[in-house]
Point group: C2
Chain length 333, copies 2
């Protein structure tokens, strides 16, 4: 079918502006939703803390977008040791909901009982919703280290390596006194022109060697995403506002040629990423597992009840088992 | 894993109450969301009306939950004739947002240009969010007729047959002067005890004969869902409130024995349903296709641009083509 936008008086920019208006309203609604549901989530946390294995049972029923990342060893570890899971919208919490923080930024916090794999009792990963100057937007994060017990590192050293590379980058940026590349696009360009550091080389080689299929869920704590700083995010939001004003005044916004040329490099930052789908997983946890935890738990209880009903005829069991409706469709009271 | 609820002091009812509290807040948020986004949807409708083939292009990019129901003939018809698609939350519109209507009820309206298949210019289907006395909740609807041109009925008579059966039921209910079965559970029980009418028999036989795999998307207009009346919905909401009060006062709510016994019959109403997944499709249109239409359209434009770039090397094309991120993750401005 023909590209129909060209055949109309509507411009691409007009549609993009409209999309941004929707985005603004949706973000505002999310902000209110977080406020309105917070007391309920607190109440839920108190109730489910009294139920043994609540979160492991919820995870057992996790939707495919989460379940696909859970390897058998991860599952065993989570089932035996996960004591709590929680999601917070940290940029708008603790009295800081003054409109400046983004409600799409989320922190995901896991708590564990004593276990054979690592020393940590709490592992928390933060995701910042950012916008880059060349038009990308989404969740970025920082590698979080796990203190593995001897020979128990489920990521085979990848997680600590990615953390080391990250720390080196931060040091380098700090020591370059503001001369370091500032935007994600500049960083990609700079990275292209230089040799990898020894640790980066090692990381790249290791990623190629082990491959990422079948990688432990715990490698997720190494997800970084595009290198969009808080400063670049601020500038991108500013630029967008100005561009819109210019368009509304009938003027053409400045186009950053440099960024335009860089389009092909879009995926470059992926090379040193040990969990490329880290943002997708974070969204699935924050927007599905977390809000629907009670439904997943009830599902787990029902499945358990079913497997207790061995005495039933096969036919009955088949019929009940074939009820594959999503939890949101059917709510038994 | 063991059923852990039994090992705790938390009751199933407590969890169900908590879920309902979440549901109430979410419904309230949806109500506000509908209000806040309405002006934007109106603005969008005006803009996209100027773009030829906007909705057919959006449908081309529809997510799998919608696309799987679109047969090749449906696609050809939609691409050549669909001029408009819109979703309204009709129970809370037109000044009736006084808190009594449910924002989850939706009407989906399709507009068509002159075409070879049917006479209608507008086909609209309403879905009511209802709750039954035996604990089901979800979307119910009424069959909507389509005035097919000669030998052009894409549903092979199924749609008009299901409409006839529906009309007979309504007549019968009206003539029985309030003695007709009132609740979905009673209707199922009554249906079980009696012979099918000739039209019902014909409908059942026809469904069995043609099978529903590969059925036209237009059979969706025949979806009915469980037979939950507005009156039963009202009673169910009332009962839920009372039950909760009783529980909070430490008393045990009355259990409707009749309904409990009926549990096995849950899926009985499906027998005469020509589009069993009608509610799922409605939700996918209302909650994904409709709000994300601009993104799907932009995707269609980008794909079109890609197929124009035949001169590019195969390698480049492969790389760009492999960018399979969902539209919500990556927004190019």
């Amino acid at each position: 079918m023909a590209a129909t936008l060209e055949d109309s008086t509507v411009t691409y920019e007009e549609l993009a502006d409209l999309e941004r208006e929707f985005e603004e309203v949706e973000t505002e609604i999310l902000r209110r939703q977080v406020e309105l549901t917070r007391p309920l989530y607190e109440k839920r946390a108190k109730v489910v803390a009294q139920i043994p294995n609540f979160w492991p049972l919820v995870l057992e029923q996790a939707p495919p977008e989460i379940d696909e990342f859970v390897q058998p060893t991860d599952a065993a570890l989570l089932l035996s040791s996960l004591t709590s899971l929680s999601v917070s919208h940290f940029e708008i919490e603790g009295g800081s909901n003054d409109g400046s923080g983004d409600p799409r930024s989320v922190a995901i916090r896991l708590e564990f009982a004593d276990n054979d794999y690592f020393e940590d009792r709490v592992i928390e990963k933060k995701f910042w919703y950012r916008r880059s100057l060349d038009g990308w937007s989404g969740l970025v994060s920082e590698p979080v280290e796990i203190r593995w017990k001897k020979d128990k590192d489920l990521t085979n050293g990848l997680l600590s390596l990615v953390k080391r590379v990250w720390d080196q980058e931060q040091q380098q940026a700090a020591s370059s006194n503001g001369n370091a590349p500032a935007t994600a696009a500049e960083k990609r360009k700079a990275a292209k022109g230089r040799e990898l550091t020894p640790d980066e080389k090692q990381l790249k080689a290791k990623i190629e060697e082990v491959g990422l299929g079948g990688m432990s869920l715990f490698a997720w704590f190494g997800y970084r995403g595009p290198k969009v700083s808080a400063e670049e995010n601020r500038r991108a939001i500013e630029k967008e506002k100005n561009d819109k004003k210019l368009r509304l005044a009938g003027k053409k916004p400045e186009v950053d040629k440099k960024d335009e040329e860089d389009e092909d490099d879009d995926e470059e930052w992926d090379e040193l990423e040990i969990f490329p789908e880290g943002d997708t997983l974070a969204i699935a946890i924050a927007e599905d597992l977390w809000p629907n935890a009670l439904k997943f738990f009830t599902q787990a209880q029902e499945q358990d009840a079913l497997s207790d009903m061995d005495f039933e005829s096969d036919e009955d069991a088949m019929e009940e088992g074939s009820d594959t409706e999503p939890p949101s469709k059917k709510v038994k009271s």
